[in-house]
Structures are given as structure tokens and as C-alpha cells.
């Protein structure tokens, strides 16, 4: 794996530098992608299933958006905790994590895109 540290750079002498593993950063990045994907999946599933939409309606004034957003945030935080425990001491390249996360975010955005998720609505 290529080193992440910019060895060629002139390191300012008096600043405090502590080498830390890149794993926790990769975990945070991947978890963000999982959170975005979860939001897209919950949004599309709520449109496709009336029962699931009712399940996601945690509070009536906010409607199913309450369950979609709370669900996505919980999934994001759980994924972050699990990935952090897995990668906290490891040298995982954040760039690879970013590539995976960009795909997950893309799918998540697709799932929240009205023209996409409204296509799954049951016929009236």
C-alpha cells in the first residue's frame, strides 16, 4: 500500500505530529456511504409499500420522513461503530474507501431522486 504521508514535504519543525492509522478515517468514510445508501433504500421502499410507509411514520406530523431519517441515521451510526472497531488499528487506504463510498452515495442519491422512487409507487 502506498504511504499516505507526504514524505517529500518540508515538515514544519515545531508543529506536533502524531502518526495515526488511516483505518478510523476509512471507517468514517465508508459509514457515510452506508448512511446515504440506507436513506435511499428506505425512501424507495416507503414508496413501494404502503405498509412500510406506515411503519416509518413514527410521528404523524412529520409522516414517513421521520422513520426514513431516524432509520438512516441509526444505520449510519451503527455502521460507523462497527467499521471503526474493525479498522481502528489498520492501515486502510481512505482513497479506496472513498471510491466505494462515492458509489454508495450515488446509489443513495438515486434512491432519494423522486423520478426514480416514484416509479415504484403502486398503481392508483
Amino acid at each position: 500500500m502506498a504511504s499516505n504521508v507526504n514524505a517529500g514535504a518540508t515538515a514544519p519543525e515545531h508543529a506536533e505530529y502524531v502518526d495515526k492509522p488511516e483505518g478510523p478515517v476509512a471507517a468514517a468514510i465508508l459509514a457515510a456511504g452506508v448512511g446515504a445508501l440506507a436513506l435511499g433504500i428506505l425512501t424507495t421502499l416507503a414508496e413501494a409499500s404502503e405498509g412500510f410507509k406506515e411503519f416509518l411514520t413514527i410521528t404523524e406530523p412529520v409522516g414517513p420522513l421521520s422513520g426514513k431519517t431516524i432509520g438512516a441515521v441509526i444505520i449510519w451510526l451503527v455502521a460507523w461503530a462497527v467499521l471503526h472497531l474493525m479498522y481502528r488499528t489498520k492501515e486502510v487506504e481512505s482513497r479506496k474507501a472513498l471510491t466505494v463510498t462515492l458509489v454508495l452515495i450515488g446509489l443513495g442519491v438515486l434512491g432519494t431522486f423522486p423520478i426514480f422512487f416514484q416509479a415504484f409507487a403502486p398503481p392508483e
Partner: protein
């Protein structure tokens, strides 16, 4: 000159938290871009890293403030099942119903990706601190996430402004 409760919270949501996040983006991007050894002296690194930490944490808090006030305070008023609610007003006219079906439906969902990404950026900047200057790959990755957080917030902010213009919440 006065504001109703609904106008006040709409202002807090959009012109308070939302504007703080969007306006802070330029400063945060400049901070991340210029955090390079060839640009800074040691004292400058510490000062720049400290300001960057404060900036990205403030932006993450602002992003969460925006979506929480938007979803849990303003949105219930928007979607109230009464003829005067913005949602009802938009749907009553075929010329404006797409503001709801497309604009609001996308905005209310995609906006939530922004605080998740902003929090990730804040975590990375806090985790590395001054050492971020030595991690060029991570710094560039952080910039990508930071720009995406801004893009999603900007999409939501733009639709929010246009929808409020078409059907104000009063």
C-alpha cells in the same frame, strides 16, 4: 414589522443554520486546500489547523441544525392537511404541483446526506489535527466529501428558496 412563529422558524432553518453552512463552505474549502507544507510555517500550521477544526465542527453543527429544524419543525407545517398549507397550495395548481412532487420530495430527503458527510469531514479534521498536513491523500479525500456535503445542501437550499417563493409558509 413582525414575524409569525412559522416565519421565525423558517428563517432559523434557512437563513440561520442553512446560510451559515453554505457561507462557511468557501472558508472551509480554502482551509483544506491550503493545508499543505509548502504553504505554511509551523506556527501557521497550528493556527490553520485550529481554525479549520472550529470551522468544520461549526459547519457540521449547522448542517444538523438545518435538517433537524427543517424536518421536525418546519416540514410539519408545510405538509399540514389544510387548504392553506404550502403543500396543499402547490398541489392545487397543475402549474405548481411539480414544486412538491419533484422539488420538495427531493429536497426533504437528499438534504440529510449533507450533515452525515459534514460530520465525517469534521471527524477526519479532528482526528488528524495538525498531522492532516502530512496526509495529502486524506486531505484530498476530505475535500471531495466536503464538496459533496455542500452540493447536497445547496440543492436543498435552492429548492427550499424556490418553494418558499412559490408557496410561502406564513
Amino acid at each position: 414589522m413582525s414575524l409569525t412563529d412559522r416565519e421565525f422558524w423558517t428563517l432559523v432553518h434557512g437563513m440561520g443554520f442553512g446560510a451559515l453552512f453554505l457561507l462557511g463552505f468557501a472558508g472551509g474549502l480554502e482551509g483544506l486546500y491550503s493545508l499543505r507544507p509548502q504553504f505554511l510555517q509551523p506556527a501557521g500550521v497550528r493556527d490553520r489547523a485550529r481554525r479549520l477544526q472550529i470551522g468544520v465542527v461549526t459547519m457540521a453543527v449547522a448542517a444538523w441544525g438545518t435538517v433537524l429544524t427543517g424536518t421536525w419543525i418546519v416540514y410539519p407545517w408545510y405538509r399540514e392537511d389544510i387548504p392553506e398549507s404550502p403543500r396543499s397550495v402547490l398541489l392545487a395548481d397543475p402549474a405548481t404541483e411539480e414544486w412538491h412532487h419533484f422539488g420538495m420530495e427531493w429536497k426533504e430527503h437528499v438534504a440529510w446526506i449533507s450533515p452525515i458527510l459534514a460530520t465525517t469531514v469534521a471527524f477526519i479534521v479532528l482526528y488528524y489535527g495538525t498531522s492532516l498536513i502530512r496526509h495529502d491523500r486524506v486531505r484530498k479525500t476530505t475535500i471531495v466529501l466536503f464538496v459533496l456535503a455542500f452540493v447536497f445542501a445547496a440543492v436543498a437550499g435552492l429548492f427550499g428558496a424556490l418553494i418558499t417563493k412559490a408557496a410561502p409558509l406564513v
